[in-house]
Subunit: 360 residues, 2 copies
């Protein structure tokens, strides 16, 4: 079914209030989820709410806690998320980074003791709305195998980068691994096969059975004694296809998050603590030139790329193109809610006495 995005947000705010989030925190958290649904990134939208409310019931998340600044300089912040949702500490942090960068041109922050933060792109877009370059990364549960390894160790480690452009900003946002585990979950739900070199079994041979891979991943990500196999780094299964570069990219995120924040590295987040770490950076491009000129130059480059000769039946899309198109469409037609999620929302609505939005 499709529901109206405004009604989706109202519903979420009421549910979050019932779970003791403050009005301000609930408003922000709801906005990150609705925004993901509007952009067609359903894996990071309202379908996460059941997971979140379960973590609150278990005590993994405390929705009344506030983020705390542990160390601060004119160009940096170290923040403790205090076991609240990653969104709360990330929004708190990004707002302050933007102010710092408006003064000194560049600033960086790390967050420890955090949690799932939704899409990395949301925070990078907060920066680009202010004419800044935004960078956001997070570590995750361990799902990804280093080059030649039989065991998962690295997170899927989302990375987002934004740059001001017209008609919409450049928004690159996704797992540093070949795919996120969410993409495999979606195929498993649909009963479809994996169409590429995404994951391997215990023998490090490519496995394209989405359900089998998903079953293995859910054990890997949540058990102490994890089975072998997992998701591949960008570059696929073979060293000859430079999968060690994808491994390097994933390691860079591990260092910028768990290591710098002195939280857990991805490999240790499945041991009951569930403490993710995040890294953010904002850069003012006008340190180097007139913002309008830079925007015009980059937009011209993107147009030239979109118009390169290409394989028949395909398009060349710049990162962000698809998201902004869907955003405009879904504001009109409503956001898509799958049947399983619709049933989950009905259950949560009953629990807290909030009416689920009607199908459009």
């Amino acid at each position: 079914m499709r529901i109206d995005a405004k009604e989706e947000k109202t519903f979420l705010k009421k549910v979050l209030a019932a779970y003791h989030f403050s009005d301000e925190d609930g408003e922000f958290l709801a906005d990150t989820l609705v925004d993901a649904d509007l952009r067609g990134i359903s894996s990071h939208g309202i379908q996460r709410i059941t997971w979140y409310t379960n973590m609150i019931k278990e005590g993994t998340i405390d929705p009344t806690n506030k983020p705390e600044i542990l160390r601060e300089t004119p160009t940096s912040l170290l923040v403790d998320a205090n076991k609240n949702m990653g969104q709360i500490a990330s929004g708190f942090t990004m707002k302050r980074l933007i102010e710092k960068t408006k003064k000194l041109g560049v600033s960086i922050a790390v967050i420890r003791n955090s949690n799932h933060f939704g899409t990395a792109g949301y925070y990078a877009r907060m920066a680009v709305k202010e004419g800044l370059i935004g960078i956001a990364t997070t570590n995750t549960r361990p799902l990804v195998l280093p080059t030649n390894s039989l065991e998962a160790f690295l997170g899927s480690n989302a990375f987002a980068f934004t740059f001001p452009a017209e008609p919409h900003p450049f928004v690159f946002d996704g797992a540093t691994s070949v795919v996120s585990s969410g993409k495999i979950q979606v195929l498993a739900k649909k009963g479809e096969n994996i169409p590429g070199e995404w994951a391997v079994g215990a023998d490090r041979k490519v496995d394209q059975d989405a359900q089998r891979v998903e079953d293995n991943l859910s054990t890997i990500a949540f058990s102490d004694d994890r089975p072998d196999g997992g998701v591949l780094t960008l570059g696929g299964n073979l060293e000859n296809n430079s999968n060690y570069k994808g491994f390097g990219n994933s390691l860079v995120v591990e260092m910028l998050t768990g290591i710098l924040a002195q939280g857990s590295i991805s490999a240790d987040t499945n041991k009951g603590k569930h403490d993710f770490s995040q890294f953010f950076m904002t850069i003012d491009p006008s340190l180097f030139g007139d913002l309008d000129t830079l925007k015009a130059n980059v937009s011209k480059m993107f147009d030239r790329i979109r118009n390169l000769k290409h394989l028949p039946g395909t398009e060349i899309k710049i990162p962000g193109d698809r998201e902004y198109k869907r955003y405009a469409e879904n504001q009109k037609q409503g956001v898509l809610i799958d049947d399983k999620t619709a049933a989950e929302l009905a259950k949560i609505g009953d629990e807290v006495g909030v009416k689920v939005p009607e199908a459009l």
Copy 2:
């Protein structure tokens, strides 16, 4: 043959002095080339000297020019390389960035009107020697195809990242594309085939004939009316293997270099100007915690990864492991010079009256 690294450096300094580099610039430029040879990155070592001297003869490079600071803030630098070698402006810039970061914790710089700068890793290692995180990137001539494109547009866009660690720093250094064109050149010289999904012909079908690919690339990189085909982004030929993520990484470098510096983007560097742009960043990790603790934590993570269960007959190497091993070996046994390069060095030595180091 193998030659002694110290003698290699003396030879290079004398040649560069004959080509009117100042003593200080010649010393630095020689050091970057010898350092690459010591680390086994021969593609970026002394074998480049013929290309460099040819560019000086053609007037593409002016070895007497000095880098010029166009804009400066406490956290940033915009530098004009003034058509001298990229190494000169890059060393100049990185020294100043390190000072800025020691004061304010983070700083960034871009260089325009630059040239080939050797290995990106050299500059990132300048930062890590001072206990800082170092980042260095450059654009290049156009060699790489966006997802679905039949035409090359992007550079191979080297990216380096360093992080303090024991027994040696983490050094991730390489093209953002699946391979650099240098790696294909080496195979073509040896008459070997390409072992992976690295490059495509005009039909965007994978071509593993290294000589044919190399012939095509040298036309693509240096002509206005370039033929189709080229090097693939990380992720290979298929959108189903997420090659759009490699495309995104390459685009990020285009924005940080040619766009921010207001120089040429890679696609336009083959039109007689030959002006590359570079981007540098340094971050002080002790903004967030005690440096020794961070080093111990990251080194422990690397050791755990090296010791993961792995495919029989393979090793799990952390980026930098191979380089530092070769560096120690080559300081003892000398650096390897292939026959073609040895002949070129003899020719250059004759021209300027400098004796080529003898084979060990």
